[in-house]
Symmetry: C2
Subunit: 305 residues, 2 copies
Protein backbone atom coordinates (compact mmCIF):
# COMPACT_ATOMS: atom_id res chain seq x y z
CA UNK A 1 0.00 0.00 0.00
CA UNK A 2 1.38 3.35 -0.89
CA UNK A 3 1.94 6.15 1.54
CA UNK A 4 -0.25 9.23 1.81
CA UNK A 5 0.86 12.75 2.70
CA UNK A 6 -0.68 12.17 6.14
CA UNK A 7 1.39 9.08 6.88
CA UNK A 8 4.36 9.57 4.59
CA UNK A 9 7.87 10.49 5.62
CA UNK A 10 10.14 12.08 3.02
CA UNK A 11 13.78 13.16 3.15
CA UNK A 12 15.14 15.93 0.94
CA UNK A 13 18.89 15.96 0.41
CA UNK A 14 20.00 19.38 -0.76
CA UNK A 15 18.17 22.62 0.04
CA UNK A 16 19.38 24.87 -2.78
CA UNK A 17 16.90 26.94 -4.76
CA UNK A 18 15.34 23.80 -6.25
CA UNK A 19 15.46 21.54 -3.18
CA UNK A 20 14.09 24.22 -0.86
CA UNK A 21 11.09 24.71 -3.11
CA UNK A 22 10.49 20.97 -3.39
CA UNK A 23 10.76 20.51 0.38
CA UNK A 24 8.25 23.34 0.79
CA UNK A 25 5.84 21.66 -1.63
CA UNK A 26 6.12 18.40 0.34
CA UNK A 27 5.49 20.17 3.66
CA UNK A 28 2.45 21.97 2.26
CA UNK A 29 1.08 18.62 1.04
CA UNK A 30 1.24 17.33 4.62
CA UNK A 31 4.30 15.10 4.50
CA UNK A 32 6.64 14.81 7.44
CA UNK A 33 9.91 16.08 5.90
CA UNK A 34 13.50 15.80 7.10
CA UNK A 35 16.33 17.45 5.20
CA UNK A 36 20.00 18.29 5.21
CA UNK A 37 22.29 20.70 3.41
CA UNK A 38 25.88 21.84 3.77
CA UNK A 39 24.60 25.40 4.28
CA UNK A 40 23.26 25.86 7.85
CA UNK A 41 21.23 28.90 6.78
CA UNK A 42 19.34 26.81 4.22
CA UNK A 43 18.57 24.28 6.97
CA UNK A 44 17.40 27.06 9.31
CA UNK A 45 15.00 28.40 6.64
CA UNK A 46 13.67 24.87 6.13
CA UNK A 47 13.09 24.47 9.87
CA UNK A 48 11.29 27.80 10.02
CA UNK A 49 8.95 26.43 7.33
CA UNK A 50 8.08 23.44 9.52
CA UNK A 51 10.65 20.82 8.51
CA UNK A 52 13.13 18.92 10.63
CA UNK A 53 16.76 19.67 9.79
CA UNK A 54 19.45 17.06 10.29
CA UNK A 55 23.18 16.90 9.69
CA UNK A 56 23.71 14.05 7.23
CA UNK A 57 22.01 12.12 4.44
CA UNK A 58 22.00 9.06 6.69
CA UNK A 59 20.13 10.91 9.44
CA UNK A 60 17.68 12.35 6.91
CA UNK A 61 17.00 8.97 5.31
CA UNK A 62 16.55 7.09 8.55
CA UNK A 63 13.05 5.63 8.63
CA UNK A 64 11.64 7.53 5.64
CA UNK A 65 9.63 6.18 2.72
CA UNK A 66 11.09 8.43 0.03
CA UNK A 67 14.48 10.12 -0.30
CA UNK A 68 14.51 13.00 -2.81
CA UNK A 69 18.04 13.86 -3.85
CA UNK A 70 18.42 17.39 -5.26
CA UNK A 71 22.13 17.84 -5.85
CA UNK A 72 24.17 19.11 -8.78
CA UNK A 73 25.65 16.07 -10.48
CA UNK A 74 26.38 12.35 -10.53
CA UNK A 75 29.38 12.54 -8.17
CA UNK A 76 27.34 14.31 -5.49
CA UNK A 77 24.49 11.84 -5.99
CA UNK A 78 26.85 8.91 -5.51
CA UNK A 79 28.25 10.52 -2.34
CA UNK A 80 24.73 11.12 -0.99
CA UNK A 81 23.91 7.45 -1.52
CA UNK A 82 27.10 5.57 -0.76
CA UNK A 83 29.56 8.03 0.80
CA UNK A 84 30.35 8.35 4.51
CA UNK A 85 27.05 9.08 6.30
CA UNK A 86 25.30 8.16 3.05
CA UNK A 87 21.56 7.59 2.70
CA UNK A 88 21.51 4.11 1.18
CA UNK A 89 22.24 2.03 4.28
CA UNK A 90 19.89 4.17 6.39
CA UNK A 91 16.90 3.77 4.07
CA UNK A 92 14.36 1.17 5.17
CA UNK A 93 13.98 -1.80 2.80
CA UNK A 94 11.35 -0.94 0.20
CA UNK A 95 11.99 2.80 0.42
CA UNK A 96 12.70 4.67 -2.83
CA UNK A 97 15.54 7.01 -3.78
CA UNK A 98 14.40 9.72 -6.25
CA UNK A 99 17.43 11.06 -8.11
CA UNK A 100 16.91 14.44 -9.79
CA UNK A 101 20.42 15.43 -10.89
CA UNK A 102 21.18 15.54 -14.62
CA UNK A 103 23.67 12.76 -15.36
CA UNK A 104 24.96 10.25 -17.88
CA UNK A 105 22.37 7.46 -18.23
CA UNK A 106 25.10 4.86 -17.76
CA UNK A 107 25.84 6.26 -14.30
CA UNK A 108 22.14 6.35 -13.41
CA UNK A 109 21.93 2.67 -14.35
CA UNK A 110 24.97 1.85 -12.23
CA UNK A 111 23.72 3.72 -9.14
CA UNK A 112 20.30 2.12 -9.49
CA UNK A 113 21.73 -1.38 -9.78
CA UNK A 114 23.90 -0.90 -6.70
CA UNK A 115 20.98 0.40 -4.61
CA UNK A 116 18.47 -2.15 -5.88
CA UNK A 117 20.80 -4.99 -4.82
CA UNK A 118 20.16 -3.92 -1.23
CA UNK A 119 16.37 -4.10 -1.51
CA UNK A 120 15.70 -0.39 -1.94
CA UNK A 121 14.20 1.21 -5.08
CA UNK A 122 15.71 3.82 -7.39
CA UNK A 123 13.72 6.28 -9.52
CA UNK A 124 15.71 8.05 -12.25
CA UNK A 125 13.86 11.37 -12.23
CA UNK A 126 15.68 14.38 -13.66
CA UNK A 127 13.49 17.44 -13.79
CA UNK A 128 12.97 20.62 -15.70
CA UNK A 129 11.61 23.96 -14.56
CA UNK A 130 13.32 26.57 -12.43
CA UNK A 131 13.15 27.63 -8.79
CA UNK A 132 9.76 29.32 -9.19
CA UNK A 133 8.13 26.14 -10.46
CA UNK A 134 9.89 24.12 -7.76
CA UNK A 135 8.34 26.40 -5.11
CA UNK A 136 4.90 26.03 -6.71
CA UNK A 137 5.05 22.23 -6.90
CA UNK A 138 4.86 22.53 -10.68
CA UNK A 139 8.06 20.85 -11.84
CA UNK A 140 8.25 18.50 -14.83
CA UNK A 141 9.85 15.12 -14.10
CA UNK A 142 11.35 12.92 -16.83
CA UNK A 143 11.21 9.67 -14.90
CA UNK A 144 11.99 6.02 -15.44
CA UNK A 145 12.26 3.06 -13.12
CA UNK A 146 10.57 -0.13 -12.00
CA UNK A 147 6.88 -0.20 -11.23
CA UNK A 148 7.78 -0.63 -7.54
CA UNK A 149 9.93 2.53 -7.68
CA UNK A 150 7.15 4.55 -9.32
CA UNK A 151 4.54 3.23 -6.89
CA UNK A 152 6.66 4.11 -3.87
CA UNK A 153 7.59 7.57 -5.16
CA UNK A 154 4.30 8.66 -6.71
CA UNK A 155 2.66 10.40 -3.70
CA UNK A 156 5.76 12.54 -3.12
CA UNK A 157 6.16 13.23 -6.87
CA UNK A 158 2.57 14.38 -7.06
CA UNK A 159 3.29 17.00 -4.42
CA UNK A 160 6.25 18.36 -6.39
CA UNK A 161 5.23 17.88 -10.04
CA UNK A 162 3.02 19.70 -12.47
CA UNK A 163 3.81 17.02 -15.06
CA UNK A 164 5.23 13.54 -14.61
CA UNK A 165 6.49 11.77 -17.75
CA UNK A 166 6.81 8.02 -17.25
CA UNK A 167 9.49 7.15 -19.78
CA UNK A 168 10.47 3.56 -19.17
CA UNK A 169 10.78 0.71 -16.71
CA UNK A 170 14.47 1.04 -15.87
CA UNK A 171 16.81 3.73 -14.60
CA UNK A 172 18.74 5.47 -17.38
CA UNK A 173 15.84 6.27 -19.67
CA UNK A 174 14.79 9.37 -17.72
CA UNK A 175 18.42 10.52 -17.77
CA UNK A 176 18.65 9.88 -21.52
CA UNK A 177 15.56 11.97 -22.27
CA UNK A 178 16.96 14.76 -20.10
CA UNK A 179 20.27 14.68 -21.99
CA UNK A 180 18.46 14.96 -25.36
CA UNK A 181 16.71 18.04 -23.99
CA UNK A 182 19.99 19.48 -22.67
CA UNK A 183 21.73 18.92 -26.01
CA UNK A 184 19.05 20.99 -27.72
CA UNK A 185 18.79 23.61 -24.98
CA UNK A 186 22.55 24.17 -24.92
CA UNK A 187 22.85 24.41 -28.70
CA UNK A 188 19.93 26.82 -28.83
CA UNK A 189 21.47 29.16 -26.22
CA UNK A 190 24.76 29.17 -28.11
CA UNK A 191 23.00 29.72 -31.45
CA UNK A 192 20.85 32.51 -30.01
CA UNK A 193 23.99 34.14 -28.65
CA UNK A 194 25.85 33.72 -31.95
CA UNK A 195 22.94 35.21 -33.89
CA UNK A 196 22.16 38.08 -31.52
CA UNK A 197 25.73 39.35 -31.34
CA UNK A 198 26.07 38.89 -35.11
CA UNK A 199 23.01 41.13 -35.47
CA UNK A 200 24.66 43.65 -33.14
CA UNK A 201 27.86 43.50 -35.20
CA UNK A 202 25.79 44.48 -38.24
CA UNK A 203 24.17 47.37 -36.39
CA UNK A 204 20.65 45.91 -36.42
CA UNK A 205 18.06 47.07 -33.89
CA UNK A 206 18.19 44.16 -31.40
CA UNK A 207 14.70 44.72 -30.03
CA UNK A 208 13.44 44.46 -33.59
CA UNK A 209 15.53 41.29 -34.08
CA UNK A 210 13.84 39.82 -30.99
CA UNK A 211 10.41 40.77 -32.30
CA UNK A 212 11.04 39.33 -35.77
CA UNK A 213 12.75 36.10 -34.69
CA UNK A 214 10.24 35.18 -31.98
CA UNK A 215 7.55 35.41 -34.70
CA UNK A 216 9.58 33.44 -37.28
CA UNK A 217 10.88 29.97 -38.10
CA UNK A 218 14.20 30.78 -36.38
CA UNK A 219 12.60 30.86 -32.94
CA UNK A 220 13.42 28.55 -30.05
CA UNK A 221 12.22 28.34 -26.47
CA UNK A 222 15.71 29.37 -25.37
CA UNK A 223 15.97 32.32 -27.79
CA UNK A 224 12.67 33.63 -26.49
CA UNK A 225 13.59 33.01 -22.83
CA UNK A 226 17.25 34.07 -22.72
CA UNK A 227 17.65 36.91 -25.22
CA UNK A 228 15.71 39.41 -23.05
CA UNK A 229 18.69 39.17 -20.68
CA UNK A 230 20.91 40.40 -23.53
CA UNK A 231 18.47 43.17 -24.45
CA UNK A 232 18.49 44.32 -20.81
CA UNK A 233 22.23 43.82 -20.35
CA UNK A 234 21.39 41.72 -17.28
CA UNK A 235 23.70 38.74 -16.78
CA UNK A 236 22.84 38.02 -13.15
CA UNK A 237 22.49 34.24 -13.10
CA UNK A 238 19.05 32.84 -13.68
CA UNK A 239 20.89 29.73 -14.94
CA UNK A 240 24.67 29.75 -15.05
CA UNK A 241 27.09 29.18 -17.93
CA UNK A 242 28.71 26.33 -15.98
CA UNK A 243 25.47 24.32 -15.99
CA UNK A 244 25.88 23.86 -19.73
CA UNK A 245 29.62 23.33 -19.45
CA UNK A 246 28.58 20.35 -17.34
CA UNK A 247 25.56 19.18 -19.35
CA UNK A 248 27.05 19.52 -22.84
CA UNK A 249 30.13 17.82 -21.37
CA UNK A 250 27.94 14.86 -20.41
CA UNK A 251 26.50 14.85 -23.95
CA UNK A 252 30.05 14.62 -25.34
CA UNK A 253 30.95 11.78 -22.96
CA UNK A 254 27.82 9.82 -23.84
CA UNK A 255 28.21 10.40 -27.56
CA UNK A 256 31.87 9.43 -27.60
CA UNK A 257 31.12 6.26 -25.67
CA UNK A 258 28.48 5.32 -28.25
CA UNK A 259 30.61 6.36 -31.26
CA UNK A 260 27.96 8.92 -32.16
CA UNK A 261 29.16 12.25 -33.62
CA UNK A 262 27.66 15.46 -32.19
CA UNK A 263 29.47 18.24 -34.09
CA UNK A 264 26.83 20.89 -33.43
CA UNK A 265 26.68 20.24 -29.69
CA UNK A 266 30.50 20.10 -29.65
CA UNK A 267 30.74 23.56 -31.20
CA UNK A 268 28.22 24.89 -28.68
CA UNK A 269 30.18 23.38 -25.78
CA UNK A 270 33.33 25.16 -26.92
CA UNK A 271 31.48 28.49 -26.66
CA UNK A 272 30.30 27.72 -23.11
CA UNK A 273 33.88 26.73 -22.24
CA UNK A 274 35.22 29.99 -23.69
CA UNK A 275 32.67 31.96 -21.68
CA UNK A 276 33.48 30.04 -18.51
CA UNK A 277 37.23 30.30 -19.09
CA UNK A 278 36.81 34.05 -19.61
CA UNK A 279 35.43 34.35 -16.09
CA UNK A 280 31.69 34.17 -16.79
CA UNK A 281 31.10 30.64 -15.49
CA UNK A 282 28.78 31.74 -12.69
CA UNK A 283 27.02 34.41 -14.74
CA UNK A 284 23.81 33.88 -16.66
CA UNK A 285 24.17 31.53 -19.63
CA UNK A 286 23.16 34.34 -22.01
CA UNK A 287 26.71 35.55 -21.26
CA UNK A 288 27.76 33.48 -24.26
CA UNK A 289 26.41 36.44 -26.29
CA UNK A 290 28.78 38.75 -24.37
CA UNK A 291 31.67 36.49 -25.27
CA UNK A 292 30.86 36.66 -29.00
CA UNK A 293 30.54 40.43 -28.73
CA UNK A 294 33.88 40.77 -26.93
CA UNK A 295 35.69 38.58 -29.43
CA UNK A 296 34.23 40.28 -32.49
CA UNK A 297 33.90 43.88 -31.40
CA UNK A 298 30.11 43.97 -31.37
CA UNK A 299 28.30 46.27 -28.95
CA UNK A 300 25.48 44.79 -26.86
CA UNK A 301 23.10 46.81 -24.67
CA UNK A 302 24.41 47.89 -21.30
CA UNK A 303 22.15 47.69 -18.26
CA UNK A 304 19.39 50.33 -18.45
CA UNK A 305 20.26 51.22 -22.04
CA UNK B 1 0.19 59.08 -55.68
CA UNK B 2 0.37 55.38 -55.10
CA UNK B 3 -1.20 52.81 -57.33
CA UNK B 4 -4.31 50.83 -56.48
CA UNK B 5 -5.09 47.25 -57.47
CA UNK B 6 -7.52 48.69 -60.02
CA UNK B 7 -4.89 50.83 -61.77
CA UNK B 8 -1.70 49.02 -60.83
CA UNK B 9 0.46 46.95 -63.11
CA UNK B 10 2.78 44.38 -61.53
CA UNK B 11 5.36 42.04 -63.02
CA UNK B 12 6.31 38.77 -61.34
CA UNK B 13 9.64 37.27 -62.36
CA UNK B 14 9.73 33.60 -61.47
CA UNK B 15 6.66 31.37 -61.21
CA UNK B 16 7.93 28.59 -58.95
CA UNK B 17 5.85 27.45 -55.98
CA UNK B 18 6.34 30.81 -54.25
CA UNK B 19 6.08 33.10 -57.27
CA UNK B 20 2.99 31.37 -58.65
CA UNK B 21 1.20 31.85 -55.33
CA UNK B 22 2.25 35.48 -55.13
CA UNK B 23 1.13 36.15 -58.73
CA UNK B 24 -2.20 34.54 -57.88
CA UNK B 25 -2.61 36.80 -54.83
CA UNK B 26 -1.90 39.86 -56.99
CA UNK B 27 -4.41 38.75 -59.63
CA UNK B 28 -7.10 38.14 -57.00
CA UNK B 29 -6.48 41.63 -55.58
CA UNK B 30 -7.27 43.08 -59.01
CA UNK B 31 -3.83 43.96 -60.31
CA UNK B 32 -2.91 43.59 -63.96
CA UNK B 33 -0.08 41.06 -63.77
CA UNK B 34 2.56 40.05 -66.33
CA UNK B 35 5.03 37.29 -65.58
CA UNK B 36 7.78 35.14 -67.01
CA UNK B 37 9.48 31.90 -66.08
CA UNK B 38 11.90 29.51 -67.75
CA UNK B 39 9.28 26.77 -67.43
CA UNK B 40 6.57 27.15 -70.14
CA UNK B 41 4.14 25.01 -68.10
CA UNK B 42 4.37 27.44 -65.16
CA UNK B 43 3.61 30.29 -67.57
CA UNK B 44 0.65 28.37 -69.01
CA UNK B 45 -0.82 27.83 -65.53
CA UNK B 46 -0.39 31.54 -64.80
CA UNK B 47 -2.18 32.48 -68.01
CA UNK B 48 -5.02 30.09 -67.16
CA UNK B 49 -5.38 32.01 -63.87
CA UNK B 50 -5.82 35.29 -65.74
CA UNK B 51 -2.30 36.63 -66.08
CA UNK B 52 -0.32 37.63 -69.15
CA UNK B 53 2.73 35.48 -69.77
CA UNK B 54 5.77 36.92 -71.53
CA UNK B 55 9.20 35.59 -72.49
CA UNK B 56 11.70 37.81 -70.66
CA UNK B 57 12.11 40.00 -67.56
CA UNK B 58 12.39 43.02 -69.87
CA UNK B 59 9.02 42.24 -71.47
CA UNK B 60 7.43 41.63 -68.08
CA UNK B 61 8.78 44.88 -66.60
CA UNK B 62 7.84 47.06 -69.54
CA UNK B 63 5.45 49.77 -68.32
CA UNK B 64 4.72 48.27 -64.89
CA UNK B 65 4.71 50.01 -61.51
CA UNK B 66 6.15 47.14 -59.48
CA UNK B 67 8.47 44.25 -60.41
CA UNK B 68 8.39 41.39 -57.90
CA UNK B 69 11.43 39.14 -58.29
CA UNK B 70 10.95 35.63 -56.91
CA UNK B 71 14.12 33.75 -57.82
CA UNK B 72 16.49 31.56 -55.84
CA UNK B 73 19.57 33.63 -55.13
CA UNK B 74 21.61 36.79 -55.65
CA UNK B 75 23.10 35.68 -58.99
CA UNK B 76 19.65 35.07 -60.48
CA UNK B 77 18.41 38.39 -59.08
CA UNK B 78 21.31 40.21 -60.68
CA UNK B 79 20.61 38.49 -64.01
CA UNK B 80 16.91 39.39 -63.79
CA UNK B 81 17.83 43.04 -63.26
CA UNK B 82 20.90 43.61 -65.37
CA UNK B 83 21.41 40.57 -67.59
CA UNK B 84 20.48 40.32 -71.28
CA UNK B 85 16.74 41.03 -71.54
CA UNK B 86 16.91 42.25 -67.92
CA UNK B 87 14.15 44.16 -66.16
CA UNK B 88 16.03 47.27 -65.03
CA UNK B 89 16.22 49.17 -68.29
CA UNK B 90 12.60 48.30 -69.14
CA UNK B 91 11.17 49.59 -65.85
CA UNK B 92 9.60 53.04 -66.04
CA UNK B 93 11.36 55.73 -63.97
CA UNK B 94 9.87 55.68 -60.45
CA UNK B 95 8.89 52.00 -60.61
CA UNK B 96 10.07 49.74 -57.79
CA UNK B 97 11.91 46.42 -57.88
CA UNK B 98 10.92 44.14 -54.96
CA UNK B 99 13.66 41.57 -54.37
CA UNK B 100 12.62 38.53 -52.38
CA UNK B 101 15.60 36.17 -52.70
CA UNK B 102 17.68 35.45 -49.60
CA UNK B 103 21.11 37.01 -50.14
CA UNK B 104 24.14 38.60 -48.55
CA UNK B 105 23.18 42.13 -47.41
CA UNK B 106 26.27 43.53 -49.14
CA UNK B 107 24.97 42.25 -52.49
CA UNK B 108 21.50 43.66 -51.80
CA UNK B 109 23.10 47.06 -51.15
CA UNK B 110 25.10 46.84 -54.36
CA UNK B 111 22.12 45.86 -56.53
CA UNK B 112 20.01 48.62 -54.96
CA UNK B 113 22.65 51.28 -55.55
CA UNK B 114 23.05 50.28 -59.19
CA UNK B 115 19.31 50.37 -59.82
CA UNK B 116 18.68 53.57 -57.85
CA UNK B 117 21.29 55.38 -59.98
CA UNK B 118 18.93 54.95 -62.91
CA UNK B 119 15.94 56.55 -61.15
CA UNK B 120 14.13 53.35 -60.21
CA UNK B 121 13.53 52.17 -56.62
CA UNK B 122 14.69 48.96 -54.91
CA UNK B 123 12.96 47.28 -51.97
CA UNK B 124 15.02 44.65 -50.15
CA UNK B 125 12.22 42.29 -49.17
CA UNK B 126 13.15 38.69 -48.35
CA UNK B 127 10.21 36.70 -47.13
CA UNK B 128 9.31 33.79 -44.92
CA UNK B 129 6.46 31.36 -45.18
CA UNK B 130 6.05 28.47 -47.59
CA UNK B 131 4.07 27.89 -50.77
CA UNK B 132 0.76 27.58 -48.90
CA UNK B 133 1.10 31.00 -47.34
CA UNK B 134 2.26 32.43 -50.68
CA UNK B 135 -0.94 31.16 -52.30
CA UNK B 136 -3.05 32.66 -49.50
CA UNK B 137 -1.40 36.09 -49.68
CA UNK B 138 -0.17 35.57 -46.12
CA UNK B 139 3.62 35.78 -46.47
CA UNK B 140 5.84 37.61 -44.00
CA UNK B 141 8.18 40.18 -45.57
CA UNK B 142 11.35 41.40 -43.84
CA UNK B 143 11.71 44.62 -45.80
CA UNK B 144 13.96 47.64 -45.91
CA UNK B 145 14.39 50.48 -48.36
CA UNK B 146 13.75 54.15 -48.96
CA UNK B 147 10.38 55.69 -48.18
CA UNK B 148 9.84 56.06 -51.93
CA UNK B 149 10.49 52.34 -52.43
CA UNK B 150 8.04 51.37 -49.66
CA UNK B 151 5.40 53.81 -50.95
CA UNK B 152 5.65 52.44 -54.46
CA UNK B 153 5.62 48.79 -53.39
CA UNK B 154 3.06 48.89 -50.57
CA UNK B 155 -0.16 48.18 -52.54
CA UNK B 156 1.39 45.09 -54.13
CA UNK B 157 2.96 43.95 -50.81
CA UNK B 158 -0.42 44.24 -49.11
CA UNK B 159 -1.86 41.79 -51.62
CA UNK B 160 0.89 39.26 -50.90
CA UNK B 161 1.66 39.74 -47.21
CA UNK B 162 0.09 38.71 -43.94
CA UNK B 163 2.79 40.63 -42.12
CA UNK B 164 5.13 43.36 -43.36
CA UNK B 165 8.11 44.22 -41.14
CA UNK B 166 9.61 47.60 -42.04
CA UNK B 167 13.18 47.18 -40.87
CA UNK B 168 15.12 50.17 -42.09
CA UNK B 169 15.49 52.88 -44.68
CA UNK B 170 18.10 51.24 -46.88
CA UNK B 171 18.53 48.00 -48.80
CA UNK B 172 20.58 45.42 -46.88
CA UNK B 173 18.76 45.58 -43.57
CA UNK B 174 15.94 43.29 -44.68
CA UNK B 175 18.55 40.86 -46.01
CA UNK B 176 20.48 41.02 -42.73
CA UNK B 177 17.40 40.19 -40.65
CA UNK B 178 16.66 37.29 -42.98
CA UNK B 179 20.19 35.93 -42.57
CA UNK B 180 19.91 36.08 -38.76
CA UNK B 181 16.74 34.02 -39.06
CA UNK B 182 18.39 31.57 -41.46
CA UNK B 183 21.40 31.13 -39.16
CA UNK B 184 19.06 30.10 -36.35
CA UNK B 185 16.74 28.02 -38.54
CA UNK B 186 19.64 26.07 -40.05
CA UNK B 187 21.31 25.42 -36.70
CA UNK B 188 18.00 24.30 -35.21
CA UNK B 189 17.36 21.78 -38.01
CA UNK B 190 20.86 20.35 -37.61
CA UNK B 191 20.51 20.25 -33.80
CA UNK B 192 17.08 18.62 -34.02
CA UNK B 193 18.53 16.02 -36.39
CA UNK B 194 21.57 15.43 -34.17
CA UNK B 195 19.36 15.01 -31.10
CA UNK B 196 16.68 12.86 -32.71
CA UNK B 197 19.08 10.34 -34.20
CA UNK B 198 21.05 10.32 -30.93
CA UNK B 199 17.80 9.40 -29.18
CA UNK B 200 17.28 6.64 -31.75
CA UNK B 201 20.83 5.40 -31.18
CA UNK B 202 19.94 5.03 -27.49
CA UNK B 203 16.77 3.15 -28.30
CA UNK B 204 14.40 5.80 -26.97
CA UNK B 205 10.78 5.96 -28.14
CA UNK B 206 11.00 8.78 -30.72
CA UNK B 207 7.33 9.69 -30.52
CA UNK B 208 7.81 10.13 -26.78
CA UNK B 209 10.94 12.22 -27.44
CA UNK B 210 8.87 14.47 -29.70
CA UNK B 211 6.16 14.78 -27.05
CA UNK B 212 8.62 15.59 -24.25
CA UNK B 213 10.85 18.00 -26.20
CA UNK B 214 8.02 20.02 -27.73
CA UNK B 215 6.78 20.62 -24.15
CA UNK B 216 10.25 21.45 -22.79
CA UNK B 217 12.99 24.08 -22.85
CA UNK B 218 14.76 22.22 -25.68
CA UNK B 219 12.02 23.02 -28.17
CA UNK B 220 12.42 25.08 -31.34
CA UNK B 221 10.08 26.04 -34.14
CA UNK B 222 12.15 23.83 -36.46
CA UNK B 223 12.19 20.83 -34.11
CA UNK B 224 8.43 20.99 -33.87
CA UNK B 225 7.97 21.51 -37.63
CA UNK B 226 10.58 19.15 -39.11
CA UNK B 227 10.83 16.16 -36.75
CA UNK B 228 7.39 14.80 -37.74
CA UNK B 229 9.03 14.09 -41.12
CA UNK B 230 11.53 11.86 -39.31
CA UNK B 231 8.81 10.16 -37.25
CA UNK B 232 6.94 9.41 -40.49
CA UNK B 233 10.06 8.48 -42.46
CA UNK B 234 8.94 10.99 -45.09
CA UNK B 235 11.80 12.89 -46.72
CA UNK B 236 9.91 14.18 -49.74
CA UNK B 237 11.01 17.80 -49.98
CA UNK B 238 8.92 20.38 -48.19
CA UNK B 239 12.15 22.44 -48.04
CA UNK B 240 15.33 20.96 -49.44
CA UNK B 241 18.71 20.33 -47.83
CA UNK B 242 20.36 22.49 -50.49
CA UNK B 243 18.43 25.58 -49.35
CA UNK B 244 20.45 25.54 -46.14
CA UNK B 245 23.66 24.62 -47.95
CA UNK B 246 23.07 27.95 -49.70
CA UNK B 247 21.83 30.00 -46.76
CA UNK B 248 24.32 28.83 -44.14
CA UNK B 249 26.94 29.35 -46.85
CA UNK B 250 25.88 33.00 -47.11
CA UNK B 251 26.10 33.24 -43.30
CA UNK B 252 29.69 31.99 -43.48
CA UNK B 253 30.58 34.46 -46.24
CA UNK B 254 29.07 37.39 -44.33
CA UNK B 255 30.66 36.38 -41.05
CA UNK B 256 34.09 35.89 -42.57
CA UNK B 257 33.89 39.27 -44.29
CA UNK B 258 33.09 40.90 -40.95
CA UNK B 259 35.68 38.89 -38.97
CA UNK B 260 32.85 37.46 -36.88
CA UNK B 261 33.16 33.80 -35.76
CA UNK B 262 30.13 31.53 -36.20
CA UNK B 263 31.33 28.13 -34.95
CA UNK B 264 27.86 26.75 -34.28
CA UNK B 265 26.49 27.72 -37.69
CA UNK B 266 29.70 26.40 -39.26
CA UNK B 267 29.20 22.98 -37.66
CA UNK B 268 25.59 22.94 -38.84
CA UNK B 269 26.64 23.83 -42.40
CA UNK B 270 29.04 20.88 -42.47
CA UNK B 271 26.12 18.56 -41.70
CA UNK B 272 24.01 20.00 -44.52
CA UNK B 273 27.03 19.63 -46.82
CA UNK B 274 27.47 16.00 -45.77
CA UNK B 275 23.79 15.33 -46.41
CA UNK B 276 23.94 17.04 -49.80
CA UNK B 277 27.20 15.33 -50.72
CA UNK B 278 25.63 11.99 -49.79
CA UNK B 279 22.95 12.52 -52.43
CA UNK B 280 20.20 14.06 -50.30
CA UNK B 281 20.52 17.63 -51.55
CA UNK B 282 17.06 17.75 -53.09
CA UNK B 283 15.39 15.79 -50.27
CA UNK B 284 13.69 17.36 -47.28
CA UNK B 285 16.08 19.13 -44.91
CA UNK B 286 15.11 16.72 -42.11
CA UNK B 287 17.30 14.32 -44.12
CA UNK B 288 20.16 15.57 -41.97
CA UNK B 289 18.73 13.20 -39.33
CA UNK B 290 19.06 10.33 -41.84
CA UNK B 291 22.69 11.24 -42.36
CA UNK B 292 23.44 11.08 -38.61
CA UNK B 293 21.63 7.74 -38.43
CA UNK B 294 23.57 6.31 -41.38
CA UNK B 295 26.91 7.44 -40.01
CA UNK B 296 26.27 6.18 -36.48
CA UNK B 297 24.20 3.06 -37.05
CA UNK B 298 21.00 4.43 -35.56
CA UNK B 299 17.65 3.20 -36.84
CA UNK B 300 15.02 5.80 -37.73
CA UNK B 301 11.39 5.04 -38.60
CA UNK B 302 10.71 3.83 -42.13
CA UNK B 303 7.70 5.13 -44.02
CA UNK B 304 4.46 3.76 -42.49
CA UNK B 305 6.31 2.28 -39.51
Amino acid sequence: MSITPQTGRVAVIGLGSMGAGMAGSLLRAGFSVTACDVDPEAVARFEAAGGRGVATPAQAANGVDVVVCVVVNAAQTEAVLFGPEGAAAAMPPGAVFVSSATMDPAIARRLAARLEETGRHYLDAPMSGGAARAAEGELTFLASGTKAAFDAARPALEAMAGKLYELGDAAGQGAAFKMINQLLAGVHIAAASEAMSFAAKQGLDLHKVYEVITASAGNSWMFENRMPHVLEGDYSPKSAVDIFVKDLGIVQDMARAEKYPVPVAAAALQMFLMASGSGMGRDDDASVARLYAQVAGAVLPSPKD
